[in-house]
């Protein structure tokens, strides 16, 4: 069975090469299965429950091959596939493939969202399974796989000017976030937090660490007010903080899937709307400054339609608002998914500078290489609680 690892920097055409290979296979006798980095490319979009997603792909009659099962299909059966965390969606897609008629599996950076245990299990399954596999990943190639290295594009696009970004960092005084009591249960879903507590001090970076589905992203969404916890007590510099009741948050977020955070069709529209909604007391950045920031991130103009950008570029644009330093606290959910090694290194250095300037950072990552580059404290999210390591 052919196992191929497609390596190369961002914008070297890896994704297009993978899809072309898979489409070619689909026209022949081989049937290909594709798992992309986000829900639109990991899930079929045809089912409204995990049980139906599995039923859709299940081969008839069943195939005699190993079943990859790291997500409990019984416990998750009634949940909507879209309500699963990014990592759980990837586990569901792998489970569906293992039950399906498909002979070839192509994965585009999706494994980067898996925790260490699940990632090791997935790599082991891919390496030993009786099927062809094509993998794009920004980490080391699994041993024994044939490696195809794509050269950098001869006309580089979306080049980041890290020196210009670093020059924008200015000192800030961020408040202390004191989570005294946090309770949260998803409607028709699991309980994530039960009287959880943590204190976040500015000038430091905190890594939320935990298994897929533990509640790391949920915590970030609560901090920016996108989810409303019940019977909870959070304070900013000692004052009650409840952004879910309105009033805005002094915290900017870069979501795991960049397409979950756009507020307009173009970058200009997105930024204008964000500027108009800043909470009282936050200095409104001017458009020329933001345009310069966008250029430094490799995006040529503010009239750029966001969805026309390649995914890796969209991910970078999703950093713009947090990195622009408008808000004292930044929360970043899997910021390095789909980003090559050089970008990860430079991003870690920039975040470290922001911390040194007084900003507070909370980030979620399963990327150990990135985590090693950014000095941080670890907060473990598990069993409804948050604990320091």
């Amino acid at each position: 069975m052919a196992k191929e690892f497609i390596a190369g920097p961002n914008f070297s055409g890896r994704s297009e090469a993978l899809l072309t290979r898979l489409r070619g296979g689909a026209q022949g006798e081989q049937r290909a299965f594709f798992i992309g980095p986000y829900a639109e490319a990991a899930l079929s979009g045809l089912s409204s429950s995990v049980a139906d997603e599995i039923a859709l792909y299940r081969a008839r009659p069943p195939r005699a091959r190993d079943v990859f099962s790291r997500l409990d299909p019984v416990a998750a059966g009634a949940r909507k596939p879209q309500s699963l965390s990014g990592g759980e969606q990837v586990l569901l897609a792998l489970h569906c493939f293992s039950l399906s008629m498909h002979d070839t599996l192509g994965i585009d950076t999706a494994l980067e969202q898996l925790d260490a245990v699940n990632r090791a299990a997935a790599i082991d399954y891919l390496s030993s399974g009786a099927f062809d596999a094509l993998l794009i990943d920004n980490h080391a190639a699994p041993s024994g796989w044939r490696q195809t290295v794509r050269p950098p594009s001869p006309s580089p696009a979306f080049v980041i000017d890290w020196a210009a970004l670093n020059a924008t960092v200015v000192p800030r005084a961020a408040p202390v976030i004191d989570i005294r009591r946090l309770n949260f249960t998803y409607r028709h879903g699991p309980t994530i937090f039960r009287d959880a507590a943590a204190q976040l001090v500015p000038g430091r970076a905190y890594r939320l660490f935990g298994a897929n589905g533990a509640g790391k992203t949920t915590l970030l969404k609560i901090l920016v007010g996108a989810l409303a916890p019940a019977a909870s007590e959070i304070a900013l510099d000692g004052k009650p903080y409840a952004p879910w009741r309105g009033g805005g948050a002094p915290i900017a977020i870069a979501t795991q899937n960049p397409d979950q955070q756009w507020c307009g069709a173009t970058l200009e529209e997105d930024l204008e709307r964000r500027r108009g909604a800043l909470p009282a007391g936050v200095a409104i950045p001017d458009i020329p400054k933001l345009a310069a920031f966008a250029r430094a991130l490799g995006v040529s103009g503010l009239d750029q339609h966001l969805y026309e950008l390649p995914l890796a570029a969209r991910k970078r644009v999703s950093w713009l608002w947090p990195l622009a330093g408008v808000h004292p606290w930044l929360v970043l959910d899997e910021p390095t998914v789909g980003q090559d090694a050089a970008t990860r290194e430079n991003l870690a250095a920039l975040l470290a500078r922001l911390c040194a300037a007084g900003h507070g950072i909370v980030f979620v990552t399963h990327d150990e290489n990135f985590a090693r580059l950014l000095p941080h404290a670890v907060l473990r999210v598990e069993n409804g609680g948050i604990s320091s390591l």
Binding site: A26, L56, A226, A277
Partner: protein, 243 residues
């Protein structure tokens, strides 16, 4: 009761609601209430509440237009009669009662089978494969829109552009939510159709996944179907006898 029986029951009950008026609707209401109380007993209240939530804005709109603005019923307009607001009110009440019954019956049937997944329900139906595909694609589109609402809402709340719950700010910025939802839905579907579906031929997986269907109606199916037909006939008789 089987899904096929439930769909037939709903179809006849809805037909009855559409062709009956005034007193004729009472028979339909009686059968619908009996169905709800025996099949989804503890959730009849939820069913009523949902039907009211769907119908209340429409009824209010019709009241404003027909009673407040027009001031006479369509029949009076057609016969060029003087017209009265009470006739307009009776017309609005009849239409609202008819639509409420339709929504209530649909809700009751859906709740009756809510322990089944959509695939299990559609698979059990005895309809052509094309119809099953259309049902699943319609549900998929609804799910995509719901997910787009969730995504756009999260993005705009996190950016402080809209607030959770009701607020004056949302009156000013609610249109941004609508625009962002459509943008999200369109790009989600486009991404799916560009990458995932062509590679896997995902739509071709639907037919085998939905293959099957129960061939016979069960005795409870026949019972409920009979009651729905009887209500339809009684409704027609009452319309004929009393106008």
């Amino acid at each position: 009761m089987t899904p096929n029986g439930a769909v037939l029951f709903a179809a006849v009950a809805i037909l009855g609601a559409m062709v009956s008026g005034g007193r004729g609707l009472a028979a339909g209401y009686a059968v619908a209430a009996l169905f709800a109380l025996t099949q989804i007993a503890p959730r009849t209240g939820a069913c009523l509440r949902r039907a009211a939530i769907v119908m209340a804005p429409l009824a209010a709109f019709m009241l404003i237009i027909w009673v407040g603005v027009v001031g006479k019923s369509p029949q009076e307009i057609a016969s060029n009669a003087e017209g009265t607001r009470s006739a307009a009110l009776f017309y609005v009440a009849t239409v609202a009662a008819r639509l409420f019954l339709i929504v209530f019956v649909l809700q009751a049937v859906l709740l009756r089978f809510d322990h089944d997944t959509p695939f299990a329900f559609v698979r059990a139906l005895r309809v052509p494969a094309g119809a099953k595909r259309m049902m699943i694609l319609t549900l998929s589109l609804i799910e995509t829109l719901r997910n787009a609402v969730d995504r756009a809402y999260t993005a705009l709340v996190a950016a402080g552009i809209v607030t959770r719950g009701l607020s004056l700010k949302n009156l000013r910025t609610g249109w941004i939510l609508v625009q962002t939802v459509w943008l999200t839905a369109i790009t989600t579907v486009t991404a799916r159709m560009r990458d995932k579906w062509p590679v896997e031929d995902t739509l071709a997986l639907l037919d085998p996944a939905l293959d099957g269907g129960e061939r016979r109606l069960s005795p409870p199916d026949w019972l409920w179907l009979g009651l729905a037909v009887a209500a339809l006939a009684l409704g027609q008789y009452l319309v004929w006898a009393h106008g």
